[in-house]
Symmetry: C2
Subunit: 410 residues, 2 copies
Amino acid sequence: MGIVVQKYGGTSVGSLEKIRFVANKVASRYREGHDVAVVVSAMAGETDRLIRLAKDLSPTPDPREMDVLVSTGEQVSIALLAMALKDLGIPARSLLGFQIGIKTDDAFMKARILDIDTQVLRKIFEAKEVAVVAGFQGITEDMEITTLGRGGSDTSAVALAAVLGADVCEIYTDVDGVYTCDPNIYDKARRLDKISYDEMLEMASLGAKVLQTRSVEFAKKYNVPILVKSTFSDEGGTLTTQEDADMEKEVVSGITHDRNEAKITILGVQDKPGVAAMIFTPLAENNINVDMIIQNVSADGKLADLSFTVSKSDYERALAIVKGIADRLGCRDVVGDTSVAKLSIVGVGMRSHAGVASKMFSALSSVGINIQMISTSEIKISCVIDEKFIELGVRVLHDAFELDKSRGEA
Amino acid sequence: MGIVVQKYGGTSVGSLEKIRFVANKVASRYREGHDVAVVVSAMAGETDRLIRLAKDLSPTPDPREMDVLVSTGEQVSIALLAMALKDLGIPARSLLGFQIGIKTDDAFMKARILDIDTQVLRKIFEAKEVAVVAGFQGITEDMEITTLGRGGSDTSAVALAAVLGADVCEIYTDVDGVYTCDPNIYDKARRLDKISYDEMLEMASLGAKVLQTRSVEFAKKYNVPILVKSTFSDEGGTLTTQEDADMEKEVVSGITHDRNEAKITILGVQDKPGVAAMIFTPLAENNINVDMIIQNVSADGKLADLSFTVSKSDYERALAIVKGIADRLGCRDVVGDTSVAKLSIVGVGMRSHAGVASKMFSALSSVGINIQMISTSEIKISCVIDEKFIELGVRVLHDAFELDKSRGEA
């Protein structure tokens, strides 16, 4: 009988009926004799409702107050879940960030967990109570409320599992695991039983929205196995864990895609030191995240074309900023394109297998898909393509790498 | 330039537009050079929404979790008001019960304030910031969230004003003061410029729902003047303060009425020691508040009739409990009546004026209103009458005591 940390997402506690269902799930785990800590998100839609309130009130809501505001969502959930557990005869206690001592830095709206005091939780376990912990929130040294950014409850759960030395961190959500590609796009998508931390990290940051990227970094650092499962089904589940020999057999583990990309190209940039910084520093200062960056050296070696991608929601602002800079730098022109998307393949096996990139490019070209930008890491290759081909691209790559066949069979 | 404590009720912050309006009011007070602490309630309807959530989830929601749940209402308000103030260029900071150190006992849902640490507030004033404080909530020594009961934000504000030594506690609400009677019932109702703590205490507990009774007790104890004003008008206002010579000139200050009364009568009760305790202890154990109690000694001195009133919402439960006890005691019968209401006159002048009661009874009898029960205190007389005569009763008494004429003129 060990320590179990469970996390339930917003859709899993989206109604009173679902909260009762989750309470029963927690209760049965508790009755098996485990020490149980449950991390809960805000009820589905609640965080968005609160953010909308703030944005309707203020053009630039103060970040400190934003965290005071949105952290109420999880507070409501934990109170309700603790009530539901008590109705089942399970001793339970809700806990806020400040009560449990989830210490973070003071970067409001995107704080990082520094430390968790386990003393309170140990006492709760000794008293044979279930700890119902508010996800997403923490507290600074000065007792200021912070939040961990979108999806932060995953990180809360993994961090708790790490400091408690839990056997596993169970993440319950509305999907039953991580798939080789989006099952809504291709019915041959296969659920992965196991995936490495590095692969999950790439998948998470490439647009497969199952886990918050930071939670996977945390899990990798402290070697916490994460089991992603459906709240409403006992079947399935994907375990994210340390890389093992089995995983390396597979060249590519999954295909991800992200429609939330827009491309900006600056034509005729002077190819000299400092120019890139002049372009990207103002974007960073405006909190615009730049994803892929590609620079083509020009034929005469003096002028280059520079392309990069941003999220579609940042596109207009980014374009305006870049046009201003390009004018001052005397660039030829700035052009943008919002009808692009990113298609990626991920797999730890790439490290030891040659020819993966060429197989990807051939597969895309075989159906006439033009590749506009390419970026690679040790275990992933991403291509920017025309958005209208994104579903076709996913299916073609899924077939090319035979992802419908399970690991070891390939 | 002193310290000003303001409190805005739920209807005053019931929409984003109203929050902006309140922010402007606070800002102008701040710009006058005062140190300003603002106590805010939950947005109108929010506390009820949260209570309904809990009651829909659980037949008997756990009180500790109830407080975790409902305290989110004020948390949302303070975050939004602080944002709105910052948009006006006013440095402001929201503060929760645990951040400011509003220490209470651990009676969840009806906690009492034990102490408020002024250190945090003093620092905020030194930094020339406006403190936006969550009303209604506190924190126990064990860092448990508590709430102060319905209307508790009034008490939060008065308590803050007391510990800070504020010149005045301004309570902004949807009415512009305390009236000689309900202006919706009688258009001759006159707003009182001034009222004593004791009168306000009686008015509050007799059904004039302007201030939480406890807040007035607090104000009296620490001699904090309370100014009740309308949020949306600069006119009017009623100051609750220490009794002065002016007030004593007036025999009766106001008429209150309360429709939320129901009467239960036990017929043929044995007139011996301990019987009353046998009847009222079970009611108290079931959290049923008994208001007026009248026992008529019977003719033969052995059997008596016992009548008492409870709120209409407790009536059915109280009746069932009392019937069980009456059976065991061998009483003759138990009868109930929900069509009653309480009509009261309040005034510190009663202490020194004779004939007030007989004037009240004569006035009621002059229009044929039968008095079913009477109870008195030093500064009030209450009568239970048939509910359908309550408006007539208010008007008749208002005329009889000439309350349309202002103090000093009578």
